[in-house]
């Protein structure tokens, strides 16, 4: 499973992305399970709102953090996210 660069990316509607005050972390919640996210993973997933494709997510984050060259890292993470069903494209 790979990311289609053309299509927008949307966070799964059967998962929940949530800030956990007690853990001071964003987490993904799904049936009887939880994944703890680091800050950059959470920033990427927050942009998966069904309006942006891969290039737009990269560009938004590069702008937000005043940096460049994030394409490879973001693509690699999104492929993991896709394989885990956290995001989808269609």
């Amino acid at each position: 499973m790979t990311i289609n660069p053309e299509l927008p990316i949307k966070f799964s509607r059967t998962h929940r992305l949530q800030w956990e005050e007690a853990q001071q972390k964003n987490v993904i919640l799904y049936p009887e399970g939880m994944v703890e996210l680091n800050e950059s993973s959470a920033e990427i997933l927050k942009l998966c709102d069904g309006t942006r494709n891969l290039a737009q997510i990269v560009s938004d984050l590069e702008q937000k953090f005043s940096t460049s060259g994030l394409t490879n890292d973001i693509t690699a993470f999104l492929e993991v996210a896709l394989q885990n069903g956290w995001i989808n494209q269609n």
Binding site: T14, Q18, A22, Q23, E32, G33, M34, Q83
Partner: protein, 399 residues
């Protein structure tokens, strides 16, 4: 076994050892104690089904009083404040509680991820919609077998067609659907049909839960425990199937620990992650702990969740490794499995401080082989005793 196997579905929620509750949190934790992450709310012991492997205590009829709505709301609020985030509404059959929707709503307002763990019996489309609107995140439906005849026999209730209909409705209304099938000698031969059924019903997750031999399952072990050959065959079929549904369905496989060399890391470590509250308000470090002697498990009517989690004798009993005897004490794997399951050690060796006898290093490991031999002999016997079904009549006889 790699790939298919998850040690225990209840340990998917990993406690992060680095997690700390800081000064900005409104609940406090004692040093060295991790906060609860998983609250299992056993709302009731009432259940229309009679499954002979039920994990409720054999003498459940002794505990007739149930917490009221305000008690449960208080418990949910207190546990959430400490950091609990996954919430299971379980039982018995949680649908028998009239205030279920109200509790689901309260849980959603607090930010829990709510799981309804149900037989599906009595679940209507109207209720499924009502629970969704209240904020329920997920419904786990149990099915006892892939055929109506066997399902209805094991459940002790004609429920097969209704359960399948409920599974469809759960999907229709946008919930992630987990199908749970408890595996034992009566249905293990149906593995191919069980997998096909899960696919047909569109399950997002399939939990293949090899029976864990506590409570009613312990009493019925001779009739439920499959042979190793049966396990291996079923597991190979499940593994092959798993590869065909990658990306569509996730399979949770609860390991048959009687055929393992090492015990399960029970509850992810005692008092580290899981909090069960029984229908009468007794707080338990694991749902079988009620049967352990001398724990004096506290009641949420008498103490706050914070006091129970931090201070109670029961929750501190097996924290750390000071309690360990040999072979656990000097074992280099003690941080991995924490000595295994205390309830199993107690049930099978009579001493809850012993190593879980599933471990091949345990001097009592022979009791596992004896159990396997006894079950195999029972399966061959012409006049095998009947299954002891989980119902009030049998519970009263056993109390």
């Amino acid at each position: 076994m790699a790939g298919l196997i998850k040690t225990n579905p209840s340990t998917t929620l990993r406690a992060d050892p680095t997690t700390t509750v800081g000064a900005d949190s409104s609940a406090t934790l004692r040093a060295g104690i991790t906060p609860p992450r998983w609250l299992l709310a056993e709302l009731t012991y009432a259940c229309p089904l009679q499954c002979p492997y039920c994990s409720n205590p054999l003498d459940y009829t002794k505990y007739q009083t149930e917490l009221d709505t305000e008690d449960w709301k208080r418990v949910l609020t207190q546990a959430r404040k400490m950091g609990a985030v996954q919430l299971g509404f379980s039982g018995g059959e949680p649908l028998t509680r009239k205030d279920l929707t109200e509790l689901v709503k309260h849980a959603r307002d607090l930010g829990y991820y709510s799981n309804l763990i149900t037989s599906g019996y009595g679940l209507t489309e109207e209720k499924i919609i009502q629970l969704k609107e209240a904020g329920l995140d997920h419904i786990q439906v149990s099915i006892q077998a892939s055929s109506q005849e066997l399902n209805d026999h094991i459940a002790g209730t004609a429920s097969f067609e209704h359960k399948k209909q409920v599974a469809h409705l759960v999907k229709k209304h946008g919930y992630p659907m987990v199908l749970c099938v408890v595996i034992h000698r009566e249905n293990i031969h149906q593995m191919p049909e069980i997998l096909a059924m899960a696919e047909e019903l569109g399950a997002d997750y399939l939990e293949l839960a090899n029976t864990q031999y506590y409570g009613w399952a312990h009493a019925n072990r001779d009739l439920l425990l499959p042979t190793q050959a049966q396990f291996k065959k079923a597991e190979a079929i499940a593994q092959a199937f798993k590869e065909t549904v990658t990306g569509k369905m996730k399979i949770y496989y609860v390991v048959p620990d009687f055929y393992e060399d090492r015990p399960k890391a029970c509850m992810n470590g005692w008092g580290t992650t899981f909090l069960t509250v029984a229908p009468d308000g007794v707080a338990l470090p694991c749902h079988s702990a009620r049967d352990l002697p001398g724990l004096n498990c506290p009641n949420v009517k008498d103490y706050s969740v914070e006091e129970i989690w931090n201070e109670s004798k029961a929750f501190n009993f097996f924290r750390g490794d000071d309690w360990m005897k040999e072979p656990c004490r000097s074992c280099d794997e003690k941080d991995k499995d924490f000595g295994g399951c205390h309830c199993q050690a107690y049930l099978l060796t009579g001493d809850m401080y012993n190593a879980d006898p599933v471990c091949s290093k345990s001097p009592d490991h022979g009791v596992i082989q004896q159990a396997i031999d006894s079950a195999a002999k029972s399966a061959l016997s012409a006049n095998e005793k009947p299954l002891l079904f989980r119902n009030s009549k049998n519970s009263k006889l056993l109390s």
